[in-house]
């Protein structure tokens, strides 16, 4: 039954993973016991696990994403502290463990942290903003979520049973081939990413269909909120490129399991083809993450400036421009692999051009604030912090897009600083802004303002103290993924960086405190109107939290910013809209298909 699995797979000799997994197992058991003792299983099963409600699935996606962000952050703390203590010393993490940590950090943060959060936002918001009652394929949606969750579980199981990949978050061959990595680490990676990739593809199909087919009356394409546009563009990219990832990893799997030679050094294989194909997915992937983030900011800026979004149509055009051009820039991840000048020039120029679309968006957000009555509430602070951070990240990105400059900074800490600058500054700030912004809509009460602002400032300052030194280290020649350092000039900057991590830890503590304090004071923070921020799109027309059918009567949209228009009309005519004619509503039934597909023993055997 266990095949080659035996007790040697459990890392009894390594205290760090052993103690961590013991704590995690105890915590998980504690939660399970608590649920059983309190008799919460029927509620969980009925209202969450088998729910096909897009809002519940969105919340579960976000919960998974937040848990994985914390897991990935723990890896980050270990990496930064290891580099700070391992200067002319071995440090506390042996190389084989350190390599697993940076691999797990990248894989978890991108595929199991940021992706579920972004998909969670799309799931929760798109039907509400389009004025419909669910996504196009509700049960399919639940299948997608549980597949992602089962992939995430697999990555975390590898902490306790066996090991994780030591190859970096994209397992480049020949290192990831059986000849050089015979252990189970890469196999964990392959199965986890394949399973969750299918889940992501399902959600992508769902969102595309929902946006194209399910809008409420009057919701023409050019009346959709920008978040729906970005969700559409991001889902189009998912549908376009996730199959490329699946095929590439399937080829690597064939190499490993059946002795194929797609990417081997021998027998006509070509490892460079893997690099090429995996980045043909990998670059659109970062836009899959950042486009919905742009959508979130496009909702927050108008709301907190009390003005419509500046340049709505140019925003839509820029989104679609980025969607298409993001498919033509992937070579900038491997300028140094040896393509000729023509290829490098083409991809260098296309990489610089994509910044134009982003620039249009940045100007639109700035002009949205200009002349508006700006309210500096927590979501707005994150958004303004984003503009500052993302511009710096974008500028270093344009620098990296120039092939000769890239030859100097390739695989250096400069690159590490750059992509954290855009992904943390873009995606993670958007996620926190969005959580803060839509939390009252999801749970019916606001988050505590003071702790939210504290968390923002700690995260913002902590981010810069952590990553600004990495730019300098990169220019001083430090490469990424070093397990120990024997060059004293780098030491001060590594100490500054680890101090920044300390500030970020305080930021995380502030976030958790904010959540706890808000839950305790939920009666005081209760959102009774359903529209706590004076919102502009249709989700604010529902009560908080929205009923499972979203809208008692399907809305009829008569312009951009549907809900703002309704409010304006009500003010003008000094009366609310007339009592609508209610009709019976048809809603999809709960279904356990999702959780069975992802976790039932029978389906995993046939898998």
């Amino acid at each position: 039954m266990f095949g080659k699995l035996d007790l040697s797979a459990i890392p009894l000799s390594q205290p760090i993973p052993l103690i961590t997994s013991a704590v995690v197992i105890l915590l998980a058991l504690g939660v399970l016991v608590l649920i059983t003792v309190k008799g919460w299983w029927p509620y969980l099963w009925r209202d969450w696990i088998t729910s096909v409600d897009h809002k519940r699935i969105g919340v579960m996606y976000c919960l998974l994403g937040v848990l994985m962000l914390i897991r990935g952050f723990a890896d980050a703390i270990m990496m930064r502290t290891q580099q700070a203590v391992a200067i002319n010393a071995p440090g506390y993490l042996p190389p084989e463990h350190y390599n697993q940590i940076f691999t797990a950090h990248g894989t978890i943060m991108i595929l199991f942290g940021a992706m579920p959060l972004v998909l969670g936002f799309m799931n929760f918001l798109v039907p509400l903003q389009l004025g419909v009652r669910d996504v196009a394929f509700p049960t399919f949606n639940s299948v997608g979520f549980w597949l992602t969750a089962s992939g995430a579980l697999l990555v975390n199981v590898s902490l306790f049973i066996g090991e994780f990949a030591r190859t970096g978050w994209l397992p480049y061959p020949p290192l990831s081939e059986t000849a050089y990595t015979p252990g189970v680490g890469v196999d964990y990676y392959l199965w986890a990413v394949q399973i969750s990739g299918v889940g992501t593809l399902i959600t992508g199909i769902n969102i595309v269909t929902t946006v194209l087919k399910m809008r409420c009356r009057g919701m023409g394409y050019l009346r959709m909120p920008v978040f729906c546009w970005t969700a559409l563009a991001s889902s189009l990219l998912i549908v376009a490129v996730f199959p490329v990832l699946t095929a590439t990893l399937a080829m690597l799997t064939l190499d490993r399991y059946l002795g194929f030679h797609y990417f081997t050094n021998t027998a006509g294989g070509n490892p460079m083809m893997f690099v090429n194909l995996v980045w043909a997915w990998g670059h659109p992937e970062v836009y899959i993450l950042v486009l919905p983030a742009f959508g979130i900011f496009s909702e927050i800026f108008p709301t907190f400036s009390g003005k419509p979004l500046f340049g709505y149509r140019s925003m839509v055009a820029a989104t679609l421009f980025i969607c298409v051009v993001s498919l033509m820039v992937w070579l900038h991840h491997f300028f140094t692999m040896g393509a000729g000048a023509a290829v490098n020039t083409f991809f260098g120029i296309s990489s610089s051009i994509i910044a134009v679309g982003t620039g249009v968006k940045i100007y639109n957000w700035i002009f949205t604030m200009y002349g508006g009555r700006v309210r500096f509430e927590t979501p707005m602070l994150w958004s303004m912090g984003f503009i500052f951070t993302f511009i710096i990240g974008g500028l270093t990105g344009v620098l990296l897009a120039v092939p000769p400059a890239d030859f100097l900074t390739h695989n250096s800490m400069f690159l590490v600083a750059h992509f954290h600058n855009v992904i943390v500054g873009g995606v993670v700030f958007a996620i926190f802004a969005g959580l803060e912004f839509w939390f009252p809509k999801v749970f019916g009460f606001r988050l505590h303002e003071g702790w939210g602002k504290t968390a923002f400032w700690l995260a913002f300052i902590g981010f810069w103290v952590t990553f600004a030194p990495l730019y300098i280290l990169g220019l001083q020649g430090m490469t990424r993924r070093l397990q120990h350092i024997n060059f004293d000039v780098w030491a001060p900057w590594l100490y500054v960086s680890v101090a920044g991590v300390g500030i970020l830890v305080l930021g995380v503590i502030a976030q958790v405190t904010q959540l706890v304090v808000s839950i305790r004071n939920r009666e005081k923070l209760r959102d009774v109107t359903g529209d706590p921020w004076d919102g502009r799109s249709l989700e604010w027309a529902t009560p908080s939290p929205p009923p499972f059918f979203n809208f008692a009567v399907m809305p009829n949209v008569e312009g951009e910013e549907a809900y703002w228009g309704i409010k304006l009309r009500a003010v003008e005519t000094q009366q609310l809209s007339p009592e609508p004619a209610y009709e019976p509503i048809e809603m999809p039934l709960n279904s356990p298909v999702g959780i069975y597909t992802a976790f039932s023993p029978r389906s995993s055997v046939s898998r």
């Binding site: 419909v132 009652r133 269909t209 194209l212 087919k213 399910m214 809008r215 409420c216 009356r217 009057g218 023409g220 394409y221 050019l222 189009l236 376009a240 490129v241 490329v244 070509n270 460079m272 083809m273 090429n276 194909l277 043909a280 298409v324 498919l327 033509m328 992937w330 070579l331 692999m337 040896g338 393509a339 000729g340 023509a342 290829v343 009567v553 399907m554 009829n556 949209v557 008569e558 004619a581 009709e583």
Partner: protein
């Protein structure tokens, strides 16, 4: 009718959203209005016939001396593209009709993505293999 010209006032009476969707004149794959079955069968049979002819022609040409030998690959490519067209028109029902805009756009997007990735990969890999040092020279360098 594209979605931007959609006039909500024309359908104000229709409260049922699915009913309303059907009035939009744009359909997802699979929810086409019911054609009469005789038409459908004739269509599918025509498609089957065309695809058999194209397949047989491809196999026949590959082994024959009917056309100038170096032109055979070109002929096979032409036949393959024709085959794709037959499948799209007769089996997947992609048409130029106004009710088919989404399907045509989806097809165009798919073709664009496949083109970018395939052509880009061929171009990149060609450059790489051109610039790669021959294997025996590399071995000498290591010694």
């Amino acid at each position: 009718m594209s979605n931007t010209d959609y006039d909500p006032r024309a359908h104000r009476g229709a409260l049922n959203p699915t009913e309303d969707l059907n009035h939009r004149g744009d359909h997802a794959p699979g929810d086409e209005p019911a054609e009469d079955s005789g038409h459908w069968v004739r269509n599918a049979n025509l498609g089957l016939g065309f695809s058999i002819i194209l397949t047989v022609a491809a196999f026949y040409l590959a082994g024959s001396h009917l056309i100038y030998a170096p032109a055979i690959p070109v002929a096979l490519i032409v036949l393959a593209i024709a085959q794709m067209g037959v499948h799209l028109v007769f089996f997947l029902h992609v048409t130029t009709g106004p009710d088919n805009t989404n399907n045509v756009l989806a097809l165009a997007f798919g073709v664009l993505v496949v083109f970018l990735i395939v052509a880009g990969s061929i171009w990149i890999m060609d450059h790489l293999s051109h610039n790669m040092m021959p294997m025996d020279q590399m071995m000498q360098m290591q010694q």
